[in-house]
Symmetry: C3
Subunit: 294 residues, 3 copies
Amino acid sequence: MLNATLGNLTELIIALTALRAGQYVLVKASIAGVIVTNTLFMLGMSLLLGGLKHRVQEYNRNNARLQAGLLFLATIALLIPSVLAEADTVTPKFTQTLSLGLSALLIASYALSIVFSLKTHREFFGGAKHGDSSEAPWRMGLALGTLAVVTVLVALVSEVFVESVQHAAETFGLTPAFVGFIIVALVGGAAEMVSAFSGARKNRLDLSVGIALGSASQIALFVAPVLVLLSYAMGPTPMNLQFWPGAVAMMLIATMTAALVTNSGRSAWFVGVLVVNVYLAFAMTLYLLPPQVK
Amino acid sequence: MLNATLGNLTELIIALTALRAGQYVLVKASIAGVIVTNTLFMLGMSLLLGGLKHRVQEYNRNNARLQAGLLFLATIALLIPSVLAEADTVTPKFTQTLSLGLSALLIASYALSIVFSLKTHREFFGGAKHGDSSEAPWRMGLALGTLAVVTVLVALVSEVFVESVQHAAETFGLTPAFVGFIIVALVGGAAEMVSAFSGARKNRLDLSVGIALGSASQIALFVAPVLVLLSYAMGPTPMNLQFWPGAVAMMLIATMTAALVTNSGRSAWFVGVLVVNVYLAFAMTLYLLPPQVK
Amino acid sequence: MLNATLGNLTELIIALTALRAGQYVLVKASIAGVIVTNTLFMLGMSLLLGGLKHRVQEYNRNNARLQAGLLFLATIALLIPSVLAEADTVTPKFTQTLSLGLSALLIASYALSIVFSLKTHREFFGGAKHGDSSEAPWRMGLALGTLAVVTVLVALVSEVFVESVQHAAETFGLTPAFVGFIIVALVGGAAEMVSAFSGARKNRLDLSVGIALGSASQIALFVAPVLVLLSYAMGPTPMNLQFWPGAVAMMLIATMTAALVTNSGRSAWFVGVLVVNVYLAFAMTLYLLPPQVK
């Protein structure tokens, strides 16, 4: 929880900078990219790295299920305006009102999920006990330290970062879709990945799955709707929840993958390979996609 | 089973009245609305109301799985003609023949499911035993009584009800989509909801899940196909199984949600919040949707 | 594994013959048809036939989960180029490059899955022990014998078979879609079905599920990508992984069905009815589909 909030500070700061500049395409690409990258790459690499060290890893699946359920709700909420906006008869005003309503629904759901997991049913979300937890606090401290340092650094350079995205795309010949979805999400999530991968290597998959899916659901159910609300105050025009259909499809597939994979509460290295390969299929597509699309 | 059949009498009577009048758009909206409302609102509110009273509720998931499987089959059967009808090359004759064939398939599947759950594998579908079952028959009698009274009342007013739907929409400024999907389904299912919610409060989630999903699958696999067959005798023209793509999408998401949620056979209050919020997202969309769409 | 490889020789030989002739539509229909037929008809009939003899069948679900996971990855990999090709802005060159990349990804995943199931985690994939295994080798020998004979026969007639497909369609008034998806897949998979059904009757569902899903995942993750690579050497033009949207939809639904059904590791006869009826719904649609579509 703390992890997720600190980790997403990076994304929030980047998004606020882009929001003020009215770069809604970049804001949305960044939101979708973080959700897809966390649920597929961060989760998959955690399962793979943990599985290469430990034969079979068991973990408390209650938290994974809660986060997967939240992501499922968020994906449907993002799906509705995006699909309906393709129809001719829908007006921008309808999309905007619907986005406001759905944002309120998502924020309320997120708030209730915190009441549920931290208050009324707290004991269901404790991690499974493992032998080497005596050593963990020290490493956790290191991870949190890394997190704090990277967050501050990214916050300092975020304005430059957002401005230079377009430039970087041209320089390296990368498509804007690839930069927005993959590069920004990987760089912005670097600190969280250190925590998640280190947890997996220490056979604490609860921690890794919690960071990966918790961070994704926080973006989807809190950061994205809050940005819609803030756009009324800060942005040049109100922002809606209408995403590129391809982004919605990727979020939907990522959510389904995470739900299927964490359903059993057990993992071995090949499960990680499968999840990472779904991510690689998406990354490859975005890399090759001609720039005029999206 | 008895519950589901009595409960759906209401919907059947409304649908027959509309069928005779050739109001196929209303018939289909009512069918889709009942499926979505039962699998999301009735199930979700049962889980929520039960969860607010009982910390964690366990229930026999065999019946939930059977009903979810039936709903999955029905959703695919409704998906095929609806998606293909969007393609230019498909003729109305093809859609009609396909609808007839799929109707026969659904009715046969429903009949076999009754043989399975009431004859060959009956013992798998008994509810989990709970302490307060001595008191249950009395309350069940009350619920069945309510059911019978409401059914008779609705049957009496159904002709008026169907005629007044368009009128009510104009008076309250509601869109026809919202009235057809949400209002009709909520009013028509009121009696079943009394049973389902009362069962959940008494920690008999088997009963609630059975009513909610059993009623939805009966509509999808029995009422809808029977209406197609009856339309040849009673309706002005034959009715097909081609639905509005949005309705099919909602039914598909509702079925997936029910399958995911009942998979574990355990529930707490927040699971109900998630399911109800998927319903609220749909209801909000239909409420806001401009009237010309659908 | 051996079963799957021998069984798919038939499909590989048919596909190579069609590949050399540049009949890519037939190659793709045959690939999609085998995947859908194996995951729905072969699996469903195994569950049904086994369930009619044995009240409840339990089986090791690790292999079913692995194969379902592989099929899920493959379906997404086939979905991407097929959906993107519908967009106007995508060039054939993009689709071809993407198909090459995805083919490499699928072959790598398949190779790693063999390392996983036969080397590093071999003990997880042994079948559950059953009483009558003493008799099994003899029946297995018979099944393998049948397999070998049918494979040789089909190999001999494959050239004629491919040429006569169009002719048969005209003679019997069958649509090319029905012949390509259903007839070719049923005939080509006949030998495997003998093995799978015989295993199910002997209460060895591990074997049946392994043949049905293992054969489907081998086609999707090995045969299809290898055919793309071979088309550069053997075919008149390079082949891509862009499928008819209807075929992708059927593969997606088939994969989801198999994943849902094998998730519990238990089965009774009605589960088989459900799976076979999904197949019948598809077969009925393809049978009725006007020839100009596809």
